[in-house]
């Protein structure tokens, strides 16, 4: 094991709560003889260490002392007891977003922030090009920050954070802002930094994100560290702290769910093969009124022999924007054009969550659909129809067109592991939002509803 970069031992923090300024004055003037405050212990005897390249998740309910701990590590609060050492440059994402002067341009604010964070003169300037490129703010980089949208704010802060080369990074819920693409970008960057040896302290209520980034976790409960170690055990313990409030306790579920599964779940539908209209005109009726939009072409790869022109959505058969209720059927229409002859085109779709994890991906050859020989200059529309029985939230959709390779050893006749040429791959072609069910029922917990059934078998009396 390498030397820990952060060590904290026995950190305690007491806040003195005074009922009024006058009470404080009384106590001060009496030199402490008249006690007028109440002690509030936000942290008691918290110890941990953090190695390079490690991400430690800090979880706990509101008021459990997470923020206090972070502020102590940042140096903005002073511990009442205990010591800590940070052997490297510590940056905290919670400090970067604040302190921007709304009158100054993004560029000037970068310089100001670097001074505030005690970087030498010229450091920010040397990183400026990198920051500007990463922030993707265009002309706005040189406009006053007060004109920024909240998303632009975060973009700027995040770019500074990513370019200032921290050795220890404190991330406080910051990855849950912005759209799903931006969040995925944040998570990708966070993983890159971890790989590069940056140590990270990740504080979040989003347990999925904690699980995806951290191996170890520190669980705080009323200022006391109740767990330090394996992330899964920590999350179980965290749920136990939460008690019966909103915990996905399996026991409770068994009680509330009827023996037969709710009819609206309709798990079979997920296995339906995506159907494809063979010609534009053929299924013209169903295409009426689709709201075609440009796909998001950021980070597109491929030789563009096949190009994605437009996409459109249907939610439960109704033309819609990319939004569907949980458990609803999402129709993803994609209009493709061949810029050159493309052989054996296998169209595919993938859905990723906000941490960038692919939850589901499927190509036509997985559904036993013969690859398509695409003639130059022609167009085609593909339809992927997916039952979105997943946790409400934001997801991104990837659309691909790639060459399928013949493989006689595979029962389908096509190689299902290795593809040929990449014609077009749009990793974040669109964002889709899954809304909670309108009737307010929650039919499952977790990432997605797997095809399932539940029953009871009477086993007689004891």
């Amino acid at each position: 094991m390498n030397e820990p970069i952060v060590t904290a031992s026995g950190i305690s923090k007491r806040f003195k709560i005074y009922p009024s300024p006058r009470a404080r004055l009384t106590e001060w003037l009496s030199l402490g003889a008249l006690q007028r405050h109440q002690d509030y212990w936000a942290l008691r005897d918290v110890s941990f260490d953090l190695a390079r390249g490690e991400c430690l998740g800090v979880i706990g309910s509101n008021g459990s002392g997470k923020s206090t701990l972070l502020k102590i590590l940042t140096g903005s609060l002073f511990p009442t007891d205990g010591t800590f050492a940070v052997n490297g440059r510590l940056l905290s994402l919670l400090e970067l977003g604040t302190g921007m002067n709304p009158e100054l341009s993004g560029r000037d604010n970068v310089v100001n922030c670097s001074r505030l964070l005690d970087f030498p003169e010229g450091y920010a300037e040397s990183k400026m090009e990198h920051i500007e490129r990463f922030a993707e703010l265009g002309d706005f980089f040189d406009r006053p920050v007060k004109l920024y949208s909240s998303g632009m704010h975060v973009r700027l802060a995040f770019s500074m954070w990513t370019c200032f080369e921290p050795e220890v990074l404190i991330v406080d819920e910051a990855l849950s802002v912005g759209d799903v693409f931006f969040q995925q970008k944040c998570f990708r960057r966070a993983r890159e930094l971890l790989d590069a040896g940056v140590a990270m302290l990740f504080v979040s209520h989003d347990l999925g994100a904690v699980q995806s980034l951290c191996k170890r976790t520190l669980v705080l409960e009323k200022g006391i560290c109740t767990h330090l170690g394996d992330v899964h055990a920590g999350i179980r313990l965290y749920y136990a702290h939460l008690g019966g409030t909103s915990a996905p306790e399996p026991v409770e579920q068994k009680k509330s769910v009827e023996p037969s599964p709710a009819p609206s779940l309709a798990p079979e539908r997920t296995n339906e093969n995506p159907e494809r209209p063979t010609e534009l005109a053929a299924s013209g009726a169903t295409l009426n009124g689709l709201m075609w939009t440009e796909p998001r072409r950021v980070e597109t790869i491929g030789n563009l022999r096949v190009e994605l022109l437009q996409i459109a959505f249907q939610a439960d058969g109704v033309n819609s924007t990319a939004s569907v209720a949980q458990g609803g059927q999402l129709g993803i229409y994609a209009r493709w054009r061949a810029n050159a002859d493309a052989a054996h085109v296998n169209f595919g779709v993938a859905i990723s969550d906000r941490t960038g994890r692919i939850l589901f991906a499927r190509g036509e050859i997985n559904a036993d659909i013969e690859p398509y020989d695409f003639r130059a200059g022609t167009e085609i529309i593909t339809l992927f129809s997916i039952c979105m029985d997943m946790d409400p939230g934001d997801y991104s959709i990837m659309l691909t067109a790639a060459e399928a390779l013949a493989d006689s050893s595979n029962p389908t006749g096509w190689n299902q592991n290795v593809g040929g040429e990449r014609y077009s791959e749009l990793p974040c072609a669109a964002a889709v939002t899954i809304q909670p069910r309108a009737d307010g029922r929650k039919l499952f917990y977790g990432v997605a509803c797997l095809s399932n059934s539940m029953e009871r078998i009477e086993s007689g009396t004891r």
């Binding site: 003195k16 609060l77 919670l94 604040t98 302190g99 009158e103 005690d118």
Partner: protein, 265 residues
């Protein structure tokens, strides 16, 4: 104590300087004249005093000849006083106003007070330059003594900074400090020989002036600028001793209160 503070101020000087400049530049943001208000406001004050005291009220001070004698006397004390009181009132609020930084960053608290002091200092440099131009234009002959003027001018700002360290720290816990301050500043101004000559007031008030932190600097201004005399060594020492002592004392208090300031802000 003091050494660490000076070192930190040097380390963060770029930040303090940039923020102060931004403050000066943007204080009048959105107004038509913009940055020029920094010049227009003191200029208007000087001209107003000149008209009032040379034409309407015809005030005179014994030794000072010419129609603008009293105007120059008044401005020599009043312009630094305005900078001082601005430094005080903004400096006292500086920690509370910058709570967003202090909540999240390890930066020393006094940076934000230093920032208001630098900003007030820039304002004073502008207004006093205008006064020099006015004095030359109305026929005052410059003397070697003028070269020493920056010392008392600096002392006004330094004193404002050092007292703000104390009041600013207390302001975090007791909002009443902010309400009390204008009153105290009023009393302080009228007990110092700014709008009147030192000898023109009752003996009791002259005694008060002996223990008044700003009086040595006011006297030095008058002597150097108007009377072409060198202040006594007593005046020099008092002028520098007040802000030095205040800095040490205020900094000790701030250091003691620091953890609680961070908790309370």
């Amino acid at each position: 104590m003091g050494i660490g503070q000076v070192r930190a101020l040097l380390k963060y000087r770029g930040f303090v300087w940039r923020r102060a400049l931004t403050d000066v530049r943007h204080r009048f943001a959105g107004t038509g004249a913009g940055v020029f208000w920094n010049v227009l406001q003191p200029l208007a004050s000087i001209l107003l005093y000149a008209v009032v005291f040379s034409q309407l009220m015809k005030s005179h001070l014994g030794q000072l000849k010419g129609p603008f004698g009293f105007t120059l006397y008044l401005c020599a004390g009043m312009l630094p006083w305005i900078a001082f009181s601005e430094c005080m009132s903004r400096g006292t609020n500086a920690l509370v106003a910058n709570a967003q930084f202090l909540k999240k960053l390890a930066v020393p608290e006094y940076l934000f007070i230093a920032e208001t002091a630098v900003s007030a200092g820039i304002g004073l440099a502008i207004s006093f330059s205008l006064l020099l131009v006015f004095a030359l234009a109305t026929g005052t002959t410059p003397t070697l003594h003028w070269l020493a003027l920056p010392v008392p001018l600096m002392c006004f700002i330094w004193l404002g900074y050092s007292i703000s360290l104390l009041t600013g720290s207390l302001r975090v816990f007791f909002p009443d400090v902010g309400q009390l301050l204008p009153l105290v500043l009023q009393i302080a101004m009228w007990t110092a020989p700014i709008v009147y000559a030192p000898g023109a007031v009752p003996h009791a008030l002259q005694l008060v002036a002996r223990f008044h932190p700003i009086v040595p600097a006011v006297n030095a201004m008058h002597e150097l600028f108007l009377f072409s005399t060198w202040p006594s060594s007593e005046t020099w020492i008092a002028m520098l001793a007040w802000p030095s002592a205040m800095t040490l004392f205020s900094h000790a208090v701030l250091k003691k209160l620091r953890p609680e300031i961070r908790d309370a802000i």
